[in-house]
């Protein structure tokens, strides 16, 4: 009975856990360097071991919001063959926002005590 429930429980927890992670992954992708939407998508899916999936439309919508609040900007660059591509990057405020967010919310997972617990 318990075993039967486990996948469902895990899936439910993961669904909740993943909500709110997209911003972090987009920001990490851009911290890694300027990228166009396909590259951001590829970065997120690859680096999250395919646990995070995102639609292009969702990425565009989020990037427009971040651009509107001045944490992300873009510049047009020549694509390989087709038209110009929008290469997104973090603005200084975006980089600072990510840095503070990491310090406050992510770094605590790297304390010796928590690392030990995670590895136990």
């Amino acid at each position: 009975m318990t075993k039967d429930l486990l996948p469902e429980l895990l899936s439910s927890w993961e669904d909740t856990y993943k909500k709110g992670q997209l911003t972090l992954w987009i920001f990490l992708a851009l911290k890694d360097g300027q990228k166009y939407v396909d590259e951001i998508k590829e970065f997120i899916e690859l680096k999250s071991n395919h646990t995070i999936h995102c639609e292009e439309q969702s990425l565009y919508r989020n990037l427009r919001k971040y651009q509107h609040i001045d944490v992300v900007a873009f510049e047009n660059k020549k694509g390989n063959k087709g038209p110009d591509r929008k290469y997104y990057f973090l603005t200084p405020m975006g980089a600072q926002l990510l840095q503070i967010f990491i310090e406050r919310n992510i770094s605590l997972f790297f304390s010796t005590e928590i690392l030990t617990l995670l590895k136990k």
């Binding site: 909500k19 709110g20 997209l22 911003t23 919508r61 427009r64 919001k65 509107h68 609040i69």
Partner: protein, 140 residues
Amino acid sequence: MKALITTNLMKFTLATLLLTLLFRFGLSTSITKHLIIAVVFSAVIYAILMWFNGRYFGWKEYEYLPIYDIGFRFHLATFLSHNLISILWFVFGLQSHYEDISVIFITAGIWFVFLFIHLIYYLSIRKSTIKDLDKKDLFE
């Protein structure tokens, strides 16, 4: 302020101007010819098309950039477009002999009260936004 006047809002306003023009034409013609059913028909069709107009461009607007204004910009655009066309209709003498411009002003006055309440509500919810985007919907 400039960011609040979006392409979708402009398209919505243009469609509203056109629909109001057609509505006024239908209304004045029906009144002149004493076609009561056509008067009702014009109003109902106008209301339905305006609903689709708002729904279509409102949705496109939300999908593009979810500006959190509880529909105030679209309401204001409708108020201005409708009353502008209505007043111009009388200025150019296109109304029926049975129509009186005072009806336009009375309607606009009553409508303005609701628009003002909407404005107050909009200003109050702006506190929960960052650059006109809902704080709770900003990061996913």
